[in-house]
Symmetry: C2
Subunit: 110 residues, 2 copies
């Protein structure tokens, strides 16, 4: 189980296109830019409670999308396999390594 | 551009978990089991027009999800890369091939 902030960052990365602009803004400020609930409330001129409720609902939505589509889980499974493949190939098959790099790029892996 | 039925089958496969049970039933009967609109209407005791409208709306939803998440597009891009990798490796690195098979299994590739 990933630590919650890391997990939310991943889920936000995978599913942010399905959120509303407001949900995206709050989540981005809270999880990526490390704003406090109070700072976000000031920024948008709403109550701290409203921001909190919105973020909680968004977190639940992200978990629900992951529950249905498993994008993060599959990403992690592929990542593990790619790391094994890269180790097995190392320097002796540079053309394959280049293709694997392209796959990883596609997956936004390191 | 994939032929429409093939494309809808793929999109349905990727995003069906985000549809309602009724949407899933209609799409499955229409695209997978090749029922006519009239046959589905009889089955569910609704009008042919209601089935048609539901399927059209669902198709638009699937395209909208693909527009946002690009699961089919990325699947096709990875598929192309995996085919190249498999050709490059052939029989001389069986351990890597086995891992690639596992990746393809994960992706539900042939």
């Amino acid at each position: 189980m990933l630590e919650k902030t890391t997990r939310m960052n991943y889920l936000f990365d995978f599913y942010q296109s399905l959120l509303t602009p407001k949900q995206r803004s709050y989540m981005s400020l809270y999880y990526l830019d490390d704003y406090s609930l109070g700072e976000i409330a000031d920024e948008y001129d709403v109550s701290r409670q409203a921001v909190y409720d919105n973020i909680k609902r968004t977190e639940a939505m992200l978990e629900e999308y992951e529950n249905k589509l498993l994008l993060l889980q599959k990403f992690q499974e592929r990542n593990t396999l790619f790391i094994h493949i890269k180790e097995l190939l190392k320097d002796d098959t540079p053309s394959v390594s280049a293709l694997l790099e392209a796959v990883c790029e596609l997956e936004k892996l390191d």
